[in-house]
Symmetry: C2
Subunit: 144 residues, 2 copies
DNA sequence: TATAAATAGGATAAAATTATCCGAAATAAA
DNA sequence: TTTATTTCGGATAATTTTATCCTATTTATA
């Protein structure tokens, strides 16, 4: 469904969100430990999220990654997925035709876009804030 | 969503289905041409589908790939996807946790399984027969 | 039985994804 | 201003996925 990079990106963002609530910045090292991911690879993904302005970075001593506390409720999974995996999951054909086109549909088009649209709706309506709160309350987990 | 191999496998199966209606066997060469896929790679995927008994192969002169005409309505996308991509798309965690577990859910578990179950339902309730008929009637297409 | 036609399958190769390493640049504090 | 800390970014490596090639095996027909 999502690439490994995207999975790490989502989990990392949630962990950053939790800490940003408490005004704490976190490092790739802490993040990788908490989400059980390869550290250097995770750092690359964080860079991409910074470039796409999903998260913010502060260089130098006492720096780290953070998210503006007030924006937490407006950042959704859709933004993270698009930043890392692009929007092929939104627009691409389920059977790999060059483009998903109502006027030249692949055999699964009608059925596929129903599922795809539900996925899209889910990603667009799930905020980092609610996911972070679930982790804090112990309702969900970032690693095994 | 699906691997390239799986996309080819689905399209190939549909093309085989169309021809099996008319009692014709088809070769990897014809299939690859019709679905616009690399021939040798497609042949490998066909072998896998044969091993999983989704399609049937006949070796030697006048041989080729076919599907029992009477089974067409009972073969669904689910069988093809499982044969090629395995059942990770059915059981796997959306964020890559070792297993998707109601009692140890990842942050997106609840929302993810809703979409996943709809995808599952779609795959299980879409038969090769209906997809083949749409191609025959010109309602859908196997390549650009 | 010999031949031609076709799938099966192993060995590689190419490309994409995932992962690691290291030095450069930035920054806060001593 | 120096130092310690931390992200940035380029180079490289490992792994997985995608793709190709060649030979063996099977089978219908002449
Ligand atoms: S054309 Fe294939 S999903 Fe729309
Ligand atoms: S635990 Fe992640 S989807 Fe179920």
């Amino acid at each position: 469904m999502f690439s490994k990079a995207c999975e790490y990106g989502i989990k990392a963002s949630i962990f950053i969100a939790i800490n940003s609530y408490e005004g704490k910045r976190v490092s790739p090292k802490e993040i990788a430990k908490e989400i059980n991911s390869p550290q250097a690879f995770t750092a690359k993904i964080l860079q991409a999220l910074v470039r796409h302005k999903v998260i913010n970075s502060v260089k130098g001593a006492y720096g780290g990654f953070e998210i503006n506390k007030n924006e937490l409720k407006y950042i959704n999974l859709s933004q993270i997925v698009k930043a890392i995996d692009g929007d092929n999951i939104y627009n691409g054909c389920g059977l790999g035709l060059d483009k998903c086109d109502e006027n030249h549909p692949c055999p699964v088009h009608e059925k596929f876009i129903t599922v795809r649209d539900e996925l899209k709706h889910m990603l667009e309506n799930t905020s980092l804030e609610e996911l972070a709160l679930d982790i804090k309350s112990g309702a969900s987990f970032l690693k095994a």
